[in-house]
């Protein structure tokens, strides 16, 4: 049993009168595969935003490798090994797929401030970006401007950019969102190929995907953890079923 790499204690946040996070606790250890599910508006994306620092918590503590990070800036959290993908594609649409990854690599490698004398370093970034595309099976799209890419490949690019940061903790916010079910296997495969040692929190509405991927599932309802456990227990839990019954799936 290793120590948790990410540990969340009593994390709370209200948007006005709306409680979107109510004293959430969570531990992620290296290699963990945790699924975070819950109805629309439960606060799943907000939870990711709280972890990455895009949204400031009202209360609570976030420890990354034992260090409190709740008061440091988002970009520093990224540099300490916390990466995320977005539920809605957040890409540089006028740049090529390769450049989208290369700027992330440049940032990670500390080259992103270079203004002069950068040929060799940028070359390295581009080559690494290209090999990441190849690993994802989309080597051919390197030169394509992102706005011309099909949606599914943009979803893969979201994951590739996060991986370019070499994170130790990866937060995936509905990687399959909007991908037609006929193409969902491409996303599944990409998730399966993620390095075993990183800790992953997966938010997903596609139950097949979560239940296959996660070893542990957390159910969030109105900002609070309803229950948490092995996928089989969760699937059999009548309370969880009640929450999901009658919920529109799109």
């Amino acid at each position: 049993m290793s120590d948790p790499i990410l540990s969340v204690r009593g994390l709370s946040k209200n948007f006005g009168a709306l409680a979107v996070a109510q004293s959430i606790d969570l531990d992620l250890k290296p290699g963990d595969r945790v699924g975070l599910i819950g109805p629309n508006g439960a606060g799943k994306t907000t939870f990711v935003n709280l972890l990455t620092g895009v949204v400031k918590p009202d209360e609570g503590q976030i420890l990354l490798k034992g260090q409190p990070i709740q008061s440091i800036r988002p970009e520093l959290r990224v540099r300490r090994g916390l990466a995320r993908t977005h539920q809605i594609n957040t890409l540089l649409v006028e740049s090529s797929a390769r450049d989208n990854i290369a700027v992330a690599i440049a940032e990670r490698s500390g080259y992103a401030w270079r203004m002069l004398n950068y040929k060799k370093q940028w070359r390295e970034c581009l080559d690494e970006a290209q090999s990441m595309l190849a690993d994802m099976g989309i080597a051919a799209i390197g030169d394509t401007e992102v706005r011309h890419l099909p949606y599914g490949e943009q979803r893969l690019l979201e994951i590739a950019i996060a991986m370019a940061l070499k994170p130790q903790v990866l937060l995936l916010d509905e990687p399959g969102a909007g991908v037609p079910s006929t193409e969902a296997h491409v996303i599944h495969d990409a998730l399966d190929r993620l390095p075993a040692e990183i800790a992953i929190l997966l938010i997903e509405h596609d139950m097949d995907l979560v239940f296959k991927f996660a070893k542990e599932i957390v159910v969030l309802v109105q900002g609070a953890v309803l229950t948490q456990g092995h996928p089989d227990e969760i699937a059999a839990d009548p309370e969880v079923r009640a929450v999901y019954l009658g919920r529109s799936r799109d």
Binding site: T52, V54, R73, P74, E75, L76, V78, R79, A83, R84, H86, T90, L91, L92, V93, E94, S95, S96, R98, D99, A102, V103, A104, A106, E107, R108, Y111, A112, W113, R114, M115, L116, Y118, Q121, W122, C125, L126, D127, E128, A129, Q130, S131, A134, A139, G142, D143, E145, I161, A162, A164, L165
Partner: protein, 338 residues
């Protein structure tokens, strides 16, 4: 696996915005500028004005075009640089290079400080703050007569010979070559910057600050950095204006000046270093030529051109050069493209 040749990115992608610009095309504007010097006797001071506006437009391109910093206060930096150079030449030394360096550094400092203060805002708020800074500087220059000459303008400048040798002559030979040399230096710097990892990240911030934060970019600092560089360049342009005309007027600090430089940039094409060349040169020469025919004609012509470009020529006039270049390449059959 990293060195597997099939995983290696091709040399320069087409998205590099002219990264593969062949040497011939790179040389063209400079060769034209030199030819102009030898053939356009009598028009050299107009040529100098054009060069200065190119530099100023290029500085706006870094901020507005590449970084997406939508400012209406760029004249504040231009005018500030001009007054710095002018005042320095009166009270300290008339050596032009020292004066230009001082104007550049001080304007960079102004850009850095104001950038730190206002770059955390966006949109209309930011726009208003840039306007506020511009009008404050304008009012200061207007009222501090003892320093700036107020609305009479700054007079009594005298500029020493360049490098101690070349007098600033009445026909403007020295001023022209001096400005051209400074433009060339800044051009090389700007070209390096926009193709650098730093330049890519700034371009990324323009497209999506949220994406850049998610990869760990210190967005605000990077904007402050590009804004400071842009300010330095605008300050240089202002300094050149002071040196070449040996006069600085309040109009350098006016909103109108901010407007003109924006028009030049949009005419020429944003996010293309050479767009500044085309936009500024066309503006200056069209204005000069048509103003001789009728004092208000140029406003119609420039206005019409601007509308035509915005409506029909995405990418500005430089996209016509791209087309010509592609056409030529096809004719020659080399298939060279960038």
């Amino acid at each position: 696996m990293m060195n597997d040749p099939k995983n290696t990115a091709p040399a320069a992608g087409p998205q590099m915005l002219g990264g593969k610009f062949s040497l011939t095309w790179h040389l063209l504007p400079w060769v034209l500028a030199i030819i102009f010097y030898f053939t356009a006797e009598g028009y050299l001071s107009l040529g100098t004005q054009a060069i200065i506006w190119v530099l100023f437009t290029m500085s706006l391109d870094l901020a507005l075009g590449y970084a997406g910093i939508v400012t209406l206060g760029h004249a504040a930096l231009f005018g500030f640089g001009a007054y710095c150079a002018g005042i320095f030449s009166i009270h300290v030394t008339g050596d032009p290079l020292t004066g230009l360096l001082v104007a550049t550094v001080l304007t960079a400092a102004l850009g850095f400080v104001t950038g730190i203060l206002i770059l955390h805002t966006t949109g209309v708020t930011f726009l208003m703050l840039t306007l506020a800074i511009l009008s404050m500087l304008f009012e200061f220059a207007n009222s501090a007569k003892w320093l700036t000459g107020g609305d009479d303008g700054l007079q009594g400048m005298s500029i020493d010979p360049l490098l101690g040798v070349f007098e600033f002559d009445f026909f403007g030979h020295t001023a022209y070559l001096y400005s051209l040399a400074i433009l060339f230096i800044w051009f090389v710097i700007a070209w390096q910057i926009v193709h650098s990892p730093f330049g890519k990240s700034v371009d990324g911030i323009r497209q999506s600050p949220k994406r850049m934060r998610a990869i760990g970019t210190p967005v605000w600092w990077r904007l402050v950095a590009i804004y400071t560089i842009s300010s330095a360049m605008a300050g240089s342009a202002g300094g050149l204006l002071a040196h070449s005309t040996q006069f600085v007027g309040l109009s350098a600090l006016s909103l109108f000046t901010s407007g003109i430089v924006a028009v030049m940039l949009i005419l020429g094409g944003t996010k293309r270093i050479y767009g500044a060349f085309i936009g500024a040169v066309i503006y200056v020469f069209v204005q000069d030529y048509t103003a001789k025919l009728n004092p208000h004609l140029w406003e119609f012509i420039i206005g019409g051109l601007l509308i035509a470009v915005v409506l029909f020529l995405e990418g500005g006039l430089i996209s016509l050069v791209d087309k010509a270049r592609d056409g030529l390449a096809r004719l020659v059959g080399k298939g060279e493209r960038s």
